[in-house]
Symmetry: C2
Subunit: 271 residues, 2 copies
């Protein structure tokens, strides 16, 4: 299916776009089933927060209607929305009145081995550390060189994801996932106020767990806590939940809370 730029079919972009020049924009990767963009409200909420924090002016009702129309045309697959600050001349200064450019791209459904979800995965311990930048932390912005570097650290099929820490050695996230631990019946996920992407599925899992009366803690998490965790899993809004069975010399069993939340995430992603 053709991509759309500002609502029109297109395969190319202006060379003056600030998304290219500076990574000056945001993106969302959205699962589409039966013509519906899944977890749409959470994606739109994160995008709106990103626009607010980066002072990007966008027509959010137009974004919503375009996402719905594009998903309807795509049917099944993955929809990627890139929102940039549009064109500009040379220099970092942006026109404060500029309207964001909307880019929609469709791809076929993600095809991960079913074993990832069923038997669990092995995490590659990435040496690439995430830098601390509270002004950008949590946002799914277009400055993603750290993820590119981390993802280049392994090529084997044995590792389905990588584990990224910050410079202080705190566990933060996967390269394209968020991280959860289960310890003493509580659900733990790293605080993302200094770095990391606050994933839509992460937010949904925190919400669902709380609804089930499961204590949830968002905090700094160190390697010791990973070592002592009863269960470990990663998540994102496309594949749902993958149990983690190993990382370097550590290993875990796939536990009951992981399976329970995985069931919920499956229901959310299989409309």
């Amino acid at each position: 299916m053709h991509s759309w730029v500002d609502g029109q079919p297109a395969d190319t972009l202006s060379l003056k776009d600030r998304g290219l020049a500076y990574g000056d924009g945001l993106f969302e990767t959205i699962a589409v089933k039966a013509g519906q963009p899944l977890l749409l409200e959470r994606h739109l909420a994160r995008l709106a927060e990103g626009c607010l924090r980066l002072a990007i002016t966008a027509d959010h009702s137009l974004i919503r209607s375009e996402l719905l129309a594009y998903a309807a045309a795509l049917g099944e697959g993955v929809l990627k929305l890139i929102l940039t600050r549009g064109d500009s001349q040379r220099g970092y200064a942006a026109d404060p009145a500029a309207q964001a450019r909307r880019i929609l791209q469709g791809s076929p459904p993600a095809t991960y081995p079913t074993a990832h979800a069923e038997q669990g995965i092995r995490l590659f311990p990435c040496a690439t550390r995430l830098s601390e930048q509270p002004l950008l932390a949590g946002l799914k912005h277009l400055n993603r060189l750290e993820q590119v570097l981390a993802r280049s650290e392994w090529r084997d099929a044995e590792h389905a994801e990588g584990l990224m820490c910050d410079a202080g050695g705190r566990l933060i996230e996967g390269v394209f996932s968020n991280l959860f631990l289960v310890a003493e019946g509580r659900l733990l996920t790293p605080d993302l106020s200094r770095c990391g992407v606050a994933g839509v599925m992460r937010a949904e899992i925190v919400f669902q767990a709380k609804s089930l009366g499961i204590p949830v803690e968002i905090a700094d998490i160190g390697l010791d806590q990973l070592r002592q965790a009863d269960e470990v899993f990663v998540c994102n809004s496309v594949y749902g939940i993958w149990p983690v069975r190993a990382c370097a010399d550590l290993s875990w069993s796939v536990g009951p809370l992981t399976r329970k939340l995985q069931g919920i995430s499956r229901a959310l992603l299989d409309v």
Copy 2:
């Protein structure tokens, strides 16, 4: 003048380009006079180092010949080279065999008020801090949201540049310039091993100063040293050197070493 993409005239770029998706690439902004790209060897050296550190495969002799041909056609102005890791499908993983995409863009000569170079400028003290990422420090890569945020902090014409510090309060650079201090006859410029862009004009000034027997120190620099500096200036490879006469409540006179190096930078940029 038309832009070139991989040697062909073009105004648009593939939507699958990783420069757009992740800021996965590098750039150089090069002054062009009389059909010549200025400080070309230093620009090419930084670009090559960036390719090495990001594992971007590029044909550097082709880049050189295209830069020369484009500059000859541009005549006078500013040439921007963007080098991206090319297209890819969804996901951070890159094809290690991918060849970099070359984008050349031309713009008219930069038109800054002559007072900037003559009377000196006022620096805006930016609240946006640079994050520490040794893997990217020094490179002119496409992840530039921190600069976009910093540049958005002021809009008045009174401030020609901004001063950026790291999270620890060390002085690092301007938003689009490097920073130098003069103290007790020595030239000081911030160490850029944790963050910052290692500018081509900065490298040239360090080289020229050493050739003149002026002691040069590359080190961590704090606010106290700025306060006590005899002279302060910023530089880049397009405008050369601007003396700094003020930043917040601090002020300096335009001093003799600044003028001497400014003369050298002018000679380098006025072929």
